[in-house]
């Protein structure tokens, strides 16, 4: 479980107060806190 370089990240939902957020990373649905999500560097894909 986790996020590795090159994985596709998709935003699903965010909880009230925009935290935590709910992502689809590499086909896995994960909820993580904003502080953790800030560690992921993303590039927009279409």
């Amino acid at each position: 479980m986790g996020c590795l370089p090159g994985n596709v990240v998709m935003m699903m939902e965010s909880a009230p107060f925009q935290d935590p957020i709910y992502l689809n990373i590499n086909g896995t649905y994960l909820a993580i806190r904003r502080e953790t999500a800030q560690q992921i560097i993303v590039k927009r894909h279409g």
Partner: protein, 704 residues
């Protein structure tokens, strides 16, 4: 007798591993603990054919063999220790068709340990709906293993799996990913030093403690850690682990492009649509959760009244039957006044506990509980808790013991410790009998707003008080505990699914059984001890009670029955328990209690539910057996002020005392185990008791 082989079920959380375990073993299972730690161990027997049985071990859910928690260490331990009696002849790795990519990571690791491995792809019934197709034959070739498509929920493919297990001798135990390419030189020297071992096993032993090292073990390769192979630094090892994961994902991605085909046009699925409503930002999320909780509590209160009334009546009848039909003597007294009321005090719980566990199991099974965790995390974080604390806090309404154990998946130690410390404030089912009887005595039965009744609302308020106390003390603890908080949080959001009757049923049965048997022993023992203390005494006043009373009321022409009651209460007052009660009376008088309630409170420091049983024992000693306990309490008179002893003020005071006090030895024991010191349970016990005493004191003094 046939042959028996060891099968380990291994898989990521949420892959339906437990459903499959239930399918394979049915009710033929037992739940225990791994020695020395509180990780649950589930085992069962499955008959494969006439001559072969499988002993199936359901290992805790794990994402990989690079351990980061206690649950995961258990899995690694089992797979690394060839001398263990649980070491598998076959490993069955359970995966979920929709999460194959991630699930296969664990599979490749286990396969590389050179253990005969079968890959189960579960939830195969969804393939058509999700437009997924899979080339099984090619997959079996590439992975060098057997692949079985299964739907544990619909009972498809389970027989194929049994057949595959029984043909375990044909499985090839060869690795599938060559992990040594991350550092060929290092692995080559390793292989030279231990030519007989699987190279990946050596690597796991070396890296086992890098992320998590808190488990006792006894194994053949212990010398490896102190050898020259441990020269690499922890950060080097972590980097290598990271590389290993990348290598494994490269292999898996390559495999899946060949064998798996998903038609992505069906993107809008159930998950997206349900999440939009259940996680609605403005109104939906919290409102739905609150309504669900309200319905659950109202249902428990309404539905369980009927069976509880039957149980109450049944035990009152049984007690008077024993009294009249058995030969007179101390043994009959023990049965009719000690054992039967004690037993009744246990059985009366079953309806509520079963309903609570039922609802919690449904919420967990459906995937909704994870959404609640998600919704609550931000708020809980402010109070020093984690969103994952919601699960312990909600299951704490059934029993604090499984709730304390459910804190294990909270990553941050401070958040976890605070959750453990505040969980006993939530209204557990042991408080319910106390609440129910007091509410019935002091709160009028009245309809409010057409659908609710006063008594139900009072109960709801008590639940909210419990949560409130938990949240508030968490906030205080977060401020005063000198522990650094890392505030790390990860949770998988499982797919929504209809709860499976079989899984829910087995959970309810198991939990109710273990709770009733566990708590039951204590209640039973205390009931008998109380009866002994109440029916024995020393000194003139006790042994000559009959003469003393007869002399006292000599001229008053009392009826036979009145005289018997006077004698009984004279004896009770001067029995051992009478002296204990009288001894603590000064301490509980300001709270509005008499010495009998005092005894009940003291005895419920072992376990709260003993309260009702104790009063039952105390009152039935020397009272008419036909009366049930509630009517008996109603008739009690306050010896000083006159009027009913259980009035509004003393009732509320008792409710508050039970809401806050830490009266459960089993919970203290489990807290000690989970925090690994007596310090925390001691702090917890003292603080909660002090709070309870002063809350009850304030309530009685203001309301009286």
């Amino acid at each position: 007798m046939g042959k028996s082989i060891n099968v380990s079920l291994i898989g990521n959380p949420n892959t339906g591993k437990t459903s499959l375990f239930n399918r394979l073993t049915g009710l033929n299972q037992k739940v225990g603990n791994y020695p020395g730690i509180t990780v649950e161990k589930k085992e069962g027997i499955c008959k494969l054919d006439r001559s072969l049985k499988a002993h199936i071990l359901d290992l805790p859910g794990t994402y990989s063999l690079n351990t980061s928690s206690l649950d995961e260490s258990v899995v690694v331990e089992t797979l690394l220790n060839k001398n263990s009696k649980d070491y598998p002849d076959v490993a069955v790795v359970v995966s979920d068709i929709e999460n194959l990519k991630r699930n296969l990571l664990l599979f490749t690791q286990i396969k590389d340990l050179e253990i005969p491995t079968i890959l189960v792809i579960n939830m195969a019934d969804r393939m058509q709906r999700k437009a997924i197709s899979l080339d099984i034959e090619l997959m079996e070739q590439e992975l060098n293993t057997r692949v079985v498509l299964v739907s544990a929920r619909k009972n498809i493919g389970v027989d194929d799996l049994k057949r595959a297990i029984s043909e375990y001798k044909n499985l090839k135990s060869v690795p599938c990913v060559n992990a040594s390419i991350i550092d060929p030189e290092y692995f080559a020297t390793l292989k030279k030093a231990y030519p007989k071992q699987s190279i990946y096993k050596l690597w796991l032993v070396i890296t086992q403690d890098v992320n998590f090292g808190k488990i006792d073990r006894n194994r053949d390769l212990e010398d490896l850690k102190s050898s020259s192979f441990a020269v690499k630094s922890e950060s080097d090892l972590k980097k290598m682990q990271h590389k290993e994961t990348v290598v494994r994902y490269q292999f898996i991605n390559g495999l899946l492009t060949k064998v798996l085909n998903v038609d992505k046009s069906q993107a809008k699925d159930l998950r997206t649509r349900l999440d939009r409503v259940l996680l609605h930002k403005v109104w939906g999320g919290y409102l739905i959760f609150f309504v669900i909780l309200l319905l659950i509590f109202q249902a428990i209160y309404d539905w369980s009244t009927y069976p509880m009334d039957w149980i109450d009546t049944f035990f009152a009848k049984a007690s008077s039957w024993a009294q009249t039909s058995l030969p007179e003597g101390p043994f009959t007294d023990l049965i009719s006044e000690g054992i039967i009321p004690g037993l009744g005090g246990i059985v009366i719980f079953i309806p509520q506990i079963a309903f609570l566990f039922l609802f919690i199991a449904i919420l967990e099974e459906s995937g909704y509980m994870s959404r609640v965790v998600f919704l609550m995390d931000h708020i809980m974080k402010k109070f020093g808790l984690s969103g994952k604390s919601v699960v312990p806090l909600v299951s704490g309404t059934a029993c604090a013991i499984p709730a304390v154990m459910a804190t294990r998946n909270i990553e941050d130690w401070k958040e976890r410790l605070i959750t453990i410390l505040v969980v006993p404030f939530t209204t557990c089912s042991a408080r319910l009998p106390v609440y129910l009887i007091i509410i019935a005595l002091v709160i009028p039965e009245q309809e409010v707003w057409w659908i609710f009744n006063m008594q139900g609302l009072t109960l709801m308020l008590l639940y909210m008080l419990g949560f409130g106390a938990a949240i508030f003390s968490a906030w205080v603890l977060n401020k005063i505990l000198p522990i650094k908080r890392k505030a790390f949080f990860v949770m998988e959001m499982p797919a929504y699914k209809l709860p499976m009757l079989k899984n829910v049923g087995i959970t309810v049965l198991e939990k109710t059984k273990s709770f009733v048997l566990g708590a039951g022993k204590i209640i039973m023992a205390i009931s008998v001890i109380l009866w002994l203390l109440a029916s024995h005494g020393i000194g003139e006043q006790f042994t000559n009670a009959e003469e003393i009373v007869k002399e006292q009321y000599a001229g008053q022409n009392l009826s036979e029955e009145e005289l018997t009651n006077k004698i009984a209460s004279q004896q009770l007052e001067h029995s051992f328990i009478g002296y204990i009660g009288k001894g603590i009376e000064p301490a509980v008088r300001p709270l509005g209690y008499d010495w009998k309630i005092g005894i009940a409170i003291v005895s419920s420091f072992a376990a709260r539910e003993v309260f009702v049983g104790t009063l039952a024992t105390i009152y039935s000693v020397g009272s008419d057996e036909e009366e049930t306990i509630k009517n008996r309490m109603k008739a009690e008179v306050n010896p000083i002020l006159g009027g009913p002893l259980f009035n509004f003020a003393s009732g509320i005071s008792l409710l508050l005392f039970y809401a806050f006090a830490m009266q459960c030895m089993s919970t203290l024991a489990i807290v000690k185990r989970e925090t690994n010191s007596w310090k925390w349970p001691a702090i917890q016990f003292t603080a909660m008791t002090v709070i309870a005493y002063f809350a009850a004191l304030a309530a009685y003094q203001i309301l009286k």
